[in-house]
Symmetry: C2
DNA sequence: CAGTATCCGCCATGATACTG
DNA sequence: CAGTATCATGGCGGATACTG
């Protein structure tokens, strides 16, 4: 057993520059990437619902993030083609797998933020 | 049981703007954050070693990322105070907990990058 | 070796206005 | 409602030079 499983694979070593996995990692860790994926993991949502759910995201960034993830195969866009428009967003099976490893991250941060230096600074600043 | 555990907690809901957990999440998902934490989870490293290990990172960004994580309480900086200088970086117990949830993410991406749209585009572009 | 200091480009991000 | 188009900006990130 190698310590680093990616040493066994030529391509997907994220520590090597110009590796494709870096691109995916960049998408996921983009400013709103994690929140969008985790939000959709909780439940499929319409555009407006998602927009309200993720407080602070701009329309442009929501659209951009969703289109990136759609191209990546993580998000499914289902337009009903009605008037007024209704579009549902959900995770693909691939996206659900990804969200599966993202949820523990979000949970951990939420539960442990008070143990971090960020909390100290905010406390002393107040 | 609530679907969203953060609904039970007033502060650490990452879907609310100006939540502290957003700050931590931003640090972790900063351009080099995940790679630095996962690298140090594999083994403690000296500055130069880390610089070579994470291919493509600039000196500025390595320093900046390390200082951020040090302030957050994720990374321990151990300067030997010798000449020539020797500085060892390692994860704190808190940082190790965080890395614990990051490693599955990096592994998943590495293993499944070929199933994503990123791989398709790279394939058709070549 | 392990950084810091400085300069700078540029693109990610955001605000606004508009549309089918 | 669900976006797109356009414009503006600032700060993220990189390159380089320098230092103890």
């Amino acid at each position: 057993m190698a310590d680093r499983i990616w040493e066994l694979l030529p391509d997907p070593d994220p520590f090597a520059a110009n590796c494709l996995s870096r691109v995916v990692l960049d998408h996921v860790t983009s400013k709103w990437g994690v929140l969008v994926l985790v939000a959709l993991a909780e439940e499929p949502m319409r555009w407006g619902q998602l927009h309200r759910y993720i407080d602070g995201i701009s329309e442009k960034m929501l659209a951009q993030t969703l289109r990136t993830f759609e191209a990546d195969g993580f998000v499914l866009r289902d337009s009903k083609g009605t008037v007024p428009p209704r579009v549902d967003y959900s995770l693909t099976p691939l996206g659900r797998e990804l969200a599966e490893v993202l949820i523990p991250l979000v949970h951990w941060v939420g539960k442990n933020v008070t143990r971090t230096g960020v909390a100290d600074q905010a406390g002393s600043a107040a």
